[in-house]
Symmetry: C2
Subunit: 131 residues, 2 copies
C-alpha cells in the first residue's frame, strides 16, 4: 500500500471499454449515485488507511502494541521478523499516525496512537468470527 496512485494510469475515464450501450444504462440513477459516492481523494485516503491494516505482520504488531508499549527489538522478537523489517513497517504505521514512539536511552518504544485503531481492529476481528 502506501502511495496511492502515484503514476499509475488513472483508469482511463473515457477510453475504457464501454461495451454496455450507454442508452441502456440507467443514466439518471448513475448520475445520482455518482454525486453521492465518496470522492476520489477521500477514497484514496481511506484506502491508505485500510492498506496499513492489510498485512498480517502489521496486524500482529498492532495487536501486540494493543497490550503494551514495546521497543523495536521486542516487537521483532514477538512477531518473529528481522528488526529492519519491523522498523520499515513501523515507519509506515507511524506515517499514517497509527502508532507513536518515544525514545528512552537507545531504545525506541512504540505504542498505539489512539483508541480508534483498537476499536476498529476489534470490530473486524469480531465480524470475521460471525461470518
Amino acid at each position: 500500500m502506501s502511495k496511492v496512485n502515484k503514476s499509475k494510469k488513472q483508469a482511463s475515464s473515457e477510453s475504457g471499454t464501454p461495451t454496455c450501450d450507454s442508452s441502456l444504462v440507467h443514466l439518471e440513477q448513475v448520475r445520482q449515485v455518482q454525486s453521492e459516492i465518496v470522492t476520489t481523494e477521500k477514497a484514496q485516503q481511506m484506502a491508505q488507511f485500510f492498506g496499513a491494516m492489510a498485512d498480517p505482520h502489521r496486524l500482529k504488531l498492532l495487536s501486540a502494541l494493543f497490550k503494551v508499549e514495546l521497543c523495536v527489538c521486542d516487537l521483532a522478537a514477538v512477531v518473529k521478523m528481522s528488526e529492519s523489517a519491523v522498523s520499515h513497517q513501523l515507519r509506515l504505521l507511524r506515517n499514517l499516525r497509527l502508532v507513536k514512539h518515544r525514545r528512552e536511552g537507545r531504545n525506541v518504544y512504540y505504542s498505539l496512537a489512539d483508541a480508534h485503531i483498537g476499536n476498529l481492529y476489534r470490530e473486524v476481528a469480531e465480524h470475521l468470527d460471525e461470518v
Copy 2:
C-alpha cells in the same frame, strides 16, 4: 491483496538478523505478549479483509452499493472503470463476502452483503476526518 503469504518466504523465524542481544530483550514480556497477540491465521484473515477495503476503486464501488443496488454496467459507469476491471474487483469482494449478487435477465445486480461493512466504512471515514 487477496492471497496472503502464498509462497513468500515466511519471515525466516530463526535466521533473521537478531542484532539485538537476546539477553537484553525483555524475555518474559515478549513471551507474555506472544501468547496474547492475534494468531497468524486470524491475522491473515483480517489482513485479507482489510485488503479488500484497501483500494480506492473498491471503496468507491462499496460506497455506491451503500446507496443502492446496481448492475455491473452501471457500477462501471459510476466509478469510471472498464466493466472487465469492475468485474474482477467485484469477484474479489464477492469471494470475501463483502457483496452479494443476483441475476435479473442479462443483468447482474450487486449489493452490500451486510450492514457491518457499512458501519466499518463509516467509522474509518469519520476517523480520518477527525485526525
